[in-house]
């Protein structure tokens, strides 16, 4: 290597040597150290990967892919997370062997005499940030089982999947719920069905979802057991420690930070499509001999909003630059709720008018439509009243 000296030559005077030679020696040394460090790190990582493969099994996947409904929480998944309630509590979110939330439906085949209720919809049904017993499907389950004391056994499944629309609920009914022999299906689908139509590029004929290309991390977690284990650990810690109130607050701030805009599209343009979808769901249930209930969407929108209620709204801040004012939001969701009431009377579907029964305040709502435990409690009472009135409750 350049820059080396022998014992026989006098030590070179720094002033006589070209600067690059000294620099070359330093670069040389730095390179050697660099290579050695990289090699050592690679060896250590290889050893750690080997050890991880020998000692640990691969962490179970959080999601599986249903070929017709996309990613869904893996059956048997369970992880701890922090609830959205104040004060937050640590609870275990558990997915049963059928891929739903719920405690009593243990197997696909229905035992004779069992009464099965399925709740379908999006995040306001799933209530992923509340313990099962504080969600309205969970409370309905508890109330019915306490009342009937196992004669008949009542099984409740919460099939809500956050971020999905009415088409998804229809797909869920057809592909996953009908084969499980439901007795009653309850749908809460108003908000996302309406919200989707606010986007300028909404196309009811093409709800396609181009697959995002995998990220480097996706590949790495798939290729390395070590990274997969570390990632699973990080995810679990984040679920346990992250307070999702922060997420809501950042969206609430976003809404206030930018000015309101008039809607770019007619906020009621999705109504005919929504009515047609509701109608089809009602007929699908009717054809299958299953009692069907539509729930109006409880929400915080009202004419006289208190400043703190207004501040709690996430609203509609859309990718195309729209940020809609509360009266516009109210007009849209009210119209969709009215369509639900009309469809119920036309098709003799059970109406659960939760929008009129859940008090519109911050004790019951976290944001526009997501509910607290108290909100869920009010919905559960509304569900029980409606199905009792309709005579669709199981006969002991």
């Amino acid at each position: 290597m350049g820059g080396m000296t022998t014992d026989f030559a006098p030590p070179p005077s720094p002033g006589l040597l070209p600067a690059s030679r000294g620099g070359g020696a330093r670069t040389d040394r730095a390179l050697r150290i660099g290579f050695a460090t990289v090699a050592l790190a690679a060896l250590l990582l290889l050893a750690a990967e080997g050890a991880a493969r020998v000692v640990f099994t691969a962490p179970p996947p959080l999601y599986v892919r249903h070929s017709l409904l996309g990613p869904t929480l893996a059956p048997g998944t369970s992880f701890e997370r922090l609830s959205i309630d104040e004060p937050p509590v640590l609870f275990k979110l558990e997915i049963d062997s059928l891929g739903f939330r719920g405690r009593r439906m243990k197997q696909a085949a229905k035992a004779p005499g069992t009464y099965r209720i399925f709740f379908l919809g999006a995040s306001t049904v799933e209530n992923a940030l509340l313990p099962e017993e504080r969600t309205f499907p969970g409370r309905t389950d508890d109330a019915l089982n306490e009342h009937y004391k196992g004669a008949p056994p009542v099984e409740v499944a919460n099939c809500g999947v956050a971020g999905t629309g009415i088409e998804y609920a229809e797909g869920m009914l057809v592909h996953r719920v009908l084969p499980l022999e439901p007795d009653l299906c309850v749908f809460l689908v108003g908000h996302n069905a309406w919200f989707a139509t606010l986007n300028s590029d909404w196309d009811p004929g093409a709800p396609s979802s181009p697959e995002m290309p995998p990220t480097f991390k996706d590949w790495l977690t798939g290729a390395s057991r070590l990274v997969a284990l570390l990632d699973a650990r990080k995810r679990a810690r984040s679920a346990r420690e992250d307070n999702k109130r922060d997420w809501y607050q950042s969206h609430q701030r976003d809404r206030r930070a930018i000015g309101f805009t008039p809607p770019k599209v007619d906020v009621l343009r999705g109504l005919p499509y929504f009515r047609a979808q509701l109608h089809r769901i009602a007929l699908l249930c009717k054809d299958a001999g299953v009692a069907c209930a539509f729930m109006t969407q409880p929400n915080l929108y009202k004419d006289a909003m208190k400043p703190e209620e207004e501040a709690a709204l996430v609203g509609a801040v859309l990718p195309d630059g729209q940020n809609l004012e509360t009266p516009v939001l109210k007009k849209g969701l009210d119209a969709f709720n009215e369509a639900i009431r009309e469809e119920c009377s036309k098709e003799s579907v059970i109406l659960i008018d939760a929008a009129r029964e859940v008090p519109q305040d911050l004790e019951h709502f976290i944001d526009d439509v997501h509910m607290t435990s108290a909100g869920n409690d009010a919905v559960a009472r509304s569900v029980l009243r409606a199905i009792q009135k309709d005579g669709k409750l199981p006969r002991p």
Partner: protein, 363 residues
């Protein structure tokens, strides 16, 4: 510094710089990547990508042809947009590969033949068949892709062979159908082609059409080299109730929407006594992902049970039935034991036309 190290570093630097330049060049001046042949649909799984075009060779004649989909991802020359023009009638075909006929020119397929015959009567026709589909997939297609097109008639050749095969795989659960295991992790190449425009342009993995002839040949070799092996009776028909449910829901949806439904029972080459040439074309006996190699009489018994469900469902729900047996069981009409040749497609198209012409002629 050692000369070789210097050279190596310079070489690496040049390679990185050239690659970076090529990537920038591809992003700035390169064409948009050609569309893939498949597209993910939120509620249907995978569907043919819109405006996909590729050169293929007809599986029966060996003639080259261009396979293409329209802007809706369907094979059609008449039905190219969602809004239905006033005064037009629409017929949409749903099913699996036996409906799509992806290895025949569109005009040689039974949907294409029906389209050509009815074009002058103001009827728009589209083929929404998806290879590998089960009846549940066909149902999802119907609900989420076909109904928005406001069809007047839907013709369904249910992919019963796919339903039947799937039900024979180990671990199949009729109540958890389509709940796959965790998706396989992406490969390094998957990530790289997603991240680099240059590699996307060079990558042909997802754009090359599958060579059906090779696939058929491989499957029939499997059948010929292995001894016959039938599933036990309790396994043989376990897929029937799930098929019955999916098909019933499909016909109920069509009835509720006041759309005329026409179902086709399975045309199949398999018969109790097969010639050597016919047996060499059998692809459906060696059931994928299982060790079963079905005897003709076993396969016929199973498919007869599925066909019986089709007839029963149709009768109950007011659908028309076209018997697949109108297609003669010989190698002039089949390219393997389930996929039809041009002649087979013509025979089926004739039977379908006999039913649909009076329907679309009504005001």
């Amino acid at each position: 510094m050692n000369r070789r190290v210097k050279l190596a570093l310079v070489f690496v630097g040049v390679v990185v710089a050239v690659l970076a330049l090529a990537e920038v060049g591809a992003r700035v001046f390169g064409p948009l990547p050609p569309p893939p042949n498949w597209e993910s649909h939120l509620l249907v799984g995978f569907v043919r990508a819109p405006n996909y075009r590729t050169n293929k060779v007809a599986i029966d004649t060996g003639e080259p042809f261009v396979y293409e989909t329209n802007a809706l991802g369907l094979r059609s020359t008449t039905l190219n947009a969602v809004p239905k023009p006033a005064g037009k009638k629409r017929i949409v075909f749903v099913g699996g590969s036996t409906t799509e006929n992806g290895d025949l020119p569109h005009e040689h397929t039974f949907p294409g033949i029906v389209e050509a015959k009815l074009k002058d009567r103001g009827v728009e026709v589209a083929n929404a068949g998806v290879p590998g589909a089960t009846t549940s997939v066909a149902l999802a297609q119907l609900v989420h892709r076909v109904l928005p097109l406001q069809p007047d008639v839907v013709v369904c050749l249910d992919p019963v062979v796919n339903d039947f095969h799937e039900s024979l795989t180990s671990g199949w659960d009729p109540l958890l159908q389509h709940m796959a295991a965790a998706p396989s992790p992406p490969s390094f190449m998957d990530w790289l082609t997603g991240a680099s425009r240059l590699l996307t342009l060079l990558d042909t993995r997802h754009r090359e059409p599958v060579n059906a002839k090779e696939v058929f040949a491989r499957r029939s070799r499997e059948h010929l080299k292995n001894p016959p092996s039938d599933p036990p009776d309790d396994l043989l028909l376990r897929g029937v109730p799930r098929f019955e449910l999916a098909q019933r829901v499909m016909l109920e949806v069509l009835r509720d929407e006041k759309i005329v439904a026409l179902v086709v029972t399975e045309p199949i080459l398999v018969k109790p006594v097969m010639t050597k040439e016919e047996d060499e074309k059998v692809t459906s006996a060696a059931v994928p992902r299982t060790d079963f190699n079905l005897r003709p009489e076993t396969e016929l018994r199973a498919l007869a049970a599925y066909d019986e469900v089709t007839r029963r469902n149709a009768e109950k729900l007011g659908a028309y039935v076209v018997e697949g047996s109108v297609v003669p069981k010989d190698l002039a009409h089949f390219v393997d034991d389930v996929h039809l040749s041009t002649k087979g497609n013509e025979a089926l198209a004739e039977a379908i036309l006999a039913k649909v012409v009076p329907l679309v002629s009504k005001d």
